[in-house]
Amino acid sequence: MNTNAFWHFLTLQLFKERSKHLSVIVISILILFLLSSVLFISSSIRYSLEETLKVQPDFVVSRVQGGIAVPTPMVWGDELLDIYGVSKVNPRVYGRYFFEAKERSFLVVGVDFLEEQSHKTLQKLIDQTDIKSFFNNNQMLVGEGVKRYLAERFYKDAYNFLTPNGTFEKVNIFKTLPSQSNLIGNDMMVMPIDLARKIIGYSEDEVTDITFNVPNPDEWNMMTDKVSALHYDLHVVNKNDVQKSYENLYNYKGGLFLILFLVLLGTFTLILYQRYSMVYSSEQRHIGLLRALGWSINDVLKFKFTETVVIVFVSYILGIFIAYVYVFALGAPLLREVFLGAQNLQNNLNFVPVLDFSVLTSIFLIYALPFMAAVLIPVWRVSVTDPKESML
């Protein structure tokens, strides 16, 4: 078969039967768009989480009594420092502060600004902050979600916290946390540790938890045992546990979508299969006619295969492109709510564009293989029957 003549006829057929192909392409694009969007979002969230967790401390220690978290004695930090292999011990003070009027809450995080921070983004932000002016007044750094939420309620520059002893504590908003940290920092209020204690109601020798690093990953398992042995009510969590619980959460949501997608794809495949295998379809008559006009089984299969590949590729490229724009340029409206959950505060998280080759290949295979099988198996069955029978 001459390649030019073949492609000439293929493009002619695709163009002349565009209305027939268009419906298949539109449905395919929709399915691919949904699948790609879900996988793009989960890849991007996984990437952001990995990036965020990379700069998180390796271990977090807190006090748990009767299954309830209680304030952790600050002196435990000194005991941790005595363990060989432990570095960068940081006490943290944080807690949920409820904005009662709307049943929303902020995460108040107390930071010792004079200590080196284990969180690099926070450290970078502190480095850029004029500490002297920051300490002169009660000041805080707030996440984008907090800033927006308070501004809508006329707290543009400051907020009055109601402390546990019934007094008000006015804290000025100094700066907004960078949007890259929105995945975890959207509802945060970062302030000096003593101020945070006052708002949450901790005494001077109490903290919420204590973080520390263990530079040698081989010591992590043993370190958990060593630290747990310090106190009966000491609860220790490492970074991998946190990562796993986050991944489980997002994989669970992505998995639900994947099941929905597979049901959708299965239905579409069945429809396609039925369409191409219908006994009296025009498709069968066309194939029989081509055979009667001297086309061999190979010629027919080659033609139909190439036609299907073109449709699959066009749908694939368009589906991926639209999903990319939807997720990374438009921020995935609607779907983001599903993935980020019923957020405490509206989160303007930007999904970091991540194009993983394995994800793209998976999308192609999950979509293309059933599609091609649904079209080509009936085509093959018709091709191998006598042309007279197909033309009936």
Partner: protein
């Protein structure tokens, strides 16, 4: 087989199986058709003439016996060779025209040449030539769905001729045509006969009883040549 035999049919049987019953459609057909001969298979509906034509074209397989085209047993050849034989040596004209309705006249005529290995320029030349012979070149850009019955038949003729086959098989070619278009079709057949084509026509139309050119009428009754 004599040297100028184009189609040779030997002890040909075709039986269909329907609801557990065997329905014999062709019974012991023997027929030799010489090169350049025009044969009219004449018979009422159900006499087996269309089935015989399909077997000659290799569109169906016989239950027993064989069909030889220039000595090649078309029904026993593997698909690749049978298709090639059909593409090069046989042109089919169907009762219902069997055109691709979404394609234009010239595009329909192009279809048999796509697997031929010819370049597009050569294909266009052959298509133009066939359209001229079938007297339909003036409608070459028109969609098949917009043609009259006579125009569709002439398009089908052009398609059958485009690969310059030696054999033209016509299945009830005038069944869907009025008298004027039927006579026009017979005139074109006459031209093809003068060009030396071997023609086999399956029909019950009385217009084919006394053709203006030399032809042999083969009557068929109940699957047999009588």
């Amino acid at each position: 087989m004599s040297t100028n035999t184009m189609i040779q049919i030997e002890n040909l049987y075709r039986t269909f199986h329907h609801g557990g019953n065997e329905v014999p459609v062709l019974k012991d057909i023997n027929l030799n058709i010489a090169q350049g001969e025009c044969v009219v298979l004449k018979g009422v509906s159900g006499s087996g003439k269309t089935t015989l034509l399909s077997l000659i074209a290799g569109l169906d397989k016989p239950s027993a016996g064989k069909v030889l085209i220039e000595g090649e047993p078309i029904s026993k050849l593997p698909d690749l060779f049978a298709s090639e034989l059909r593409a090069k040596k046989i042109g089919m004209i169907f009762q219902h025209f069997n055109l691709f309705e979404h394609l234009s006249v010239s595009e329909n005529v192009t279809v048999p040449l796509i697997p031929s290995g010819l370049k597009m320029k050569e294909i266009h030349e052959k298509v133009d030539e066939a359209l001229k012979v079938a007297n339909i070149i003036h409608k070459q850009e028109v969609l098949a769905s917009r043609l009259s019955g006579g125009e569709k038949q002439r398009t089908a003729i052009a398609r059958a001729l485009v690969a310059d086959p030696n054999i033209i098989l016509c299945d009830e070619p005038t069944a869907n045509l009025d008298r004027d278009n039927s006579l026009l079709f017979i005139d074109i057949l006459g031209e093809l006969h003068h060009m030396g084509k071997t023609i086999v026509i399956a029909t019950h139309d009385p217009l084919f009883d006394n053709l203006s050119f030399e032809s042999t009428v083969v009557p068929m009754v109940d699957g047999k040549i009588v």
